[in-house]
Amino acid sequence: MYSQKVRCADRFKIQKFKKGPARRMTVYLPIAEISVNLFLILGMGGAIGLLSGMFGVGGGFLMTPLLIFIGIPPAVAVASVANQITAASVSGVLAHWRRGNVDFKMGMVLLVGGIVGSMIGTWIFTILKSIGQVDLLISLSYVIFLGTIGGLMFFESIKSMISSHRGSTPRKKLHQHYWIHGLPFKMRFRKSKLYISALMPLGIGTFVGILSGIMGVGGGFVMVPAMIYLLGMPTSVVIGTSLFQIIFVTANVTLLQSIATQTVDVMLAILLMSSSVVGAQIGTRFGTRLRGEQLRAMLSFLVILVCAKLAFDLVVTPDDLYSLSTVGAN
């Protein structure tokens, strides 16, 4: 009698236990106002975090379209991703900093430009929004910039891969001289082994800031190639420095979006963070093992892939020509 009772209770317990995790697989996002699969969100965060650590890009240009694809409202996706990128970048910067791969001086100069630029970018965004067609502008600027940068990086890295394979590496000049090197306000960046005008990183920071204001991303995918090809910084320092700069740009976006639109979903951001910070740590380890040109080839391939998808969406006939949006939400 007694043992039978126990067995019954055991069976009941097992059933209850089985049911529990299945029900908890979804989580309700309070700002996005939808329920999502917990593991899907965690998996996406982890994968993007891995890329973030490897390439020094925030990953916003991948994460935002992915979130929109699974049904998160675009405004919430952009704002929450900004918050998540801050966390991933902090984790990445600390890992790079320990390896001595962050040029703080360069980062600060870029940041000054970045803050000014993102303000200009947000201002342009607001004007274009009032005219309409802001979605098209975002898609077009993604296609143009991702296409150009991805293409350039891809061909350059393939070329250097081939030449290093042959073993006949042409002797690299320490640095090439362009007209920009004649600019005033020269500054010495020891970590980057550069002695250049402060106007250059300042200008690049501003330009990238404008883009990130319009496109709603950290701007790492523009910043990284700009630092390599325009400033001539060593690839090893570029990633840590880019992440350092991204922290502040995305933190600024999070704050501005919280105030202006209330679209930062902390629940979504925390879920993405918890997996992406882990991914970023692993990614950083991978990244340091890979050669510079291999890293650049992989990143450029990724950039081209996203670009192709966006270009395809612009040209191909959409499934539904109509789109709905709520007016004056909240």
Binding site: R23, R24, T26, V27, Y28, P30, I31, E33, I34, S35, G71, N83, Q84, T86, A87, A88, S89, V90, S91, G92, V93, L94, A95, R98, G132, Q133, L136, A251, T254, L255, L256, S258, I259, Q262, V264, V266, M267, A269, I270, M273, S274, V277, V278, A280, Q281, L314, V315, T317, P318, D320, L321, Y322, S323, L324, S325, T326, V327, G328, A329, N330
Partner: protein, 262 residues
């Protein structure tokens, strides 16, 4: 007014609706019958593991024994949700690229609209009655500044997209009658159901005439942590933004500490 129309809760919000039903009944009601209805839950909480809910709607029809007309009774139950203004945009191909060209704004469109009936609604009541009671998604009043024939495809797009996301539904023959008088049905509230004020409306038809109607309020609200976050974000926007950033900084720092020890 002689007809019976009981509200379960004394909610002022529905006074307007009831007076509309009463007016309508004054014209058509001849038979005497009572509709007693209820819903399984009037307050649905959306917490952090909300995966949707099933709403049970039930009640009884008391037929007048003299008339013995049971069998001709038809029921239509409508649950409609928070009304919002929406913009519908249409894309057209310009220079090879699809872009938004025309748009129509509709006011007071229900975010959720579910209808259940024991047989197709067009067999139950006349088109005029259905239109008046706004029964069926295609008979909803879509108010817009645009001309009716121009806005029609936009209206169809709203219904199509809302149906695809299970926010608009139409179940025919889904009301179960138990014995002579009892009935019950269920309406699925999907995980993406918007929060807000809802109304459950019960319409009893006899021989194509509306003989009784009831309406009950229903609320879907956020609860627990989700509600706290939502209210914090809306009431203390600056603090929320700062808090979000602190969380991000701590998360990044914590992760790097955990990984350093390896």
């Amino acid at each position: 007014m002689g007809q019976i129309s009981r509200t379960v809760g004394n909610v002022a919000l529905f006074a307007a609706f009831l007076s509309f039903v009463n007016l309508h009944l004054a014209r058509v009601a001849t038979a005497d019958s009572t509709l007693v209805t209820d819903i399984s839950s009037r307050l649905i909480s959306v917490n952090s593991d909300f995966t949707g809910a099933e709403l049970l709607l039930f009640g009884s029809i008391k037929s007048d024994s003299n008339l013995d007309s049971f069998g001709h009774d038809d029921l239509i139950i409508v649950v409609r949700g928070p009304h919002k203004n929406i913009v519908v945009r249409r894309k057209d191909r310009i220079a090879g690229i699809w872009m938004n060209t025309t748009s129509v704004e509709f006011t007071e469109v229900p975010s959720f609209y579910a209808i259940v009936s024991n047989r197709p609604v067009t067999e139950i009541a006349s088109a005029g009655t259905l239109k008046r009671l706004r029964i069926g998604p295609e008979r909803l009043n879509f108010h817009s500044g645009a001309a009716v024939d121009a806005s029609l495809p936009f209206q169809e797009a709203v219904i199509r997209q809302k149906s695809e996301t299970n926010l608009y539904s139409d179940q025919e023959g889904a009301i179960y009658f138990l014995g002579d008088t009892l009935f019950r049905t269920t309406i699925e509230l999907p995980a993406n159901v918007p929060v807000g004020d809802y109304v459950a409306e019960f319409y009893l038809f006899r021989d194509n005439d509306l003989v009784s109607a009831q309406s009950s309020p229903l609320f879907i609200k956020k609860s627990g942590l989700g509600r706290a976050i939502f209210e914090f974000a809306h009431n203390y926007a600056i603090l929320y933004g700062i808090a979000a950033n602190i969380v991000a900084l701590l998360a990044g720092w914590l992760a790097s500490i955990i990984f350093r020890k390896e």
